[in-house]
């Protein structure tokens, strides 16, 4: 493992490196299927654009975003990216996002462990209080993973997401995970 920030059994999360930028990271964010439900999906990505983004996130101490690379622990392969963004240090809230970009890793449980590590970073390491998540009602993966991790749906915006695949609009769901409730369910396993 190189510079792990948080490690599980099969993946670890670390600060992105220039090697990540020089790999296939930028290609994930141009992939039509992978970015189908991204708010930023409408623009082509490039290695140069990824480098700019990387530089703008190079000092997490000055940021309201924690950006982390997801890495296969055994093979040390960069397989995805996740983030806690729009961190509000007063209200102690954040938005959560992640992508398993390497398609060889989408079958396995890498997403589950990454999600668990990210939630634990937010609540236990950064002492945040509320994790918010926004996703399309038609993004069935997101709907299921938020249900599995006991996020509570608190609202929706009708016809918010444009789905280029179907040419239709779908509702945005807004879910939150509250630290107090999460601790009740999970603190005994710490």
């Amino acid at each position: 493992m190189y510079n792990p920030y948080s490690a599980g059994e099969i993946v670890y999360l670390r600060h992105p490196t220039i090697e990540d930028v020089e790999g296939s990271w930028h290609e994930w964010l141009s992939d039509e299927e992978l970015t189908r439900w991204f708010a930023e999906r409408n623009f082509p990505n490039s290695k140069e654009a990824q480098l700019e983004f990387f530089k703008s996130n190079s000092n997490p101490n000055l940021s309201n975003r924690i950006l982390l690379s997801i890495v296969d622990k055994e093979k040390d392969i960069h397989i995805g990216v996740c983030s806690l963004s729009r961190i509000n240090w007063v209200h102690r809230s954040c938005d959560l996002a992640f992508i398993i970009g390497n398609k060889d890793y989408q079958k396995g449980p890498f997403m589950m462990e990454s999600f668990t590590l990210l939630i634990r970073i937010a609540f236990l390491r950064l002492n945040l209080r509320i994790i918010k998540s926004h996703y399309s009602l038609d993004n069935k993966h997101s709907v299921l993973i938020h249900k599995l991790f006991k996020f509570v749906e608190v609202g929706s915006i009708p016809n918010y997401y444009y789905d280029p695949k179907t040419g239709s609009y779908t509702d945005e769901l807004i879910s939150i995970l509250n630290r107090e409730n999460w601790m009740k369910e999970n603190c005994s396993s710490n």
Partner: protein, 76 residues
């Protein structure tokens, strides 16, 4: 804990014959056991056994054996 009931649930979700599911089965043994099916499976287990899996349990479950061990640990 009835092993056969668990295998029946898994086979039903994976749309395979019950005897194809074995205690040492892994996602690699089934073409349709992808991350989406994995989540459906965990939610179905929570529903069937009236339990709430913790985040650590969710992260640890990767195989049929893991599911079985988790349910035993919970006291099912």
């Amino acid at each position: 804990m009835n092993e056969e009931d668990l295998f029946l649930l898994i086979s039903s979700l994976l749309n395979v014959e019950t005897q194809e599911v074995k205690i040492d089965s892994t996602p690699d043994d089934f073409s349709n056991w992808d991350s989406f099916k994995h989540m459906e499976l965990l939610l179905a287990i929570e529903d069937k056994y009236s339990i709430k899996l913790t985040d650590i349990q969710i992260a640890k479950i990767k195989t049929v054996q893991d599911i079985y061990n988790t349910l035993i640990d919970i006291g099912i």
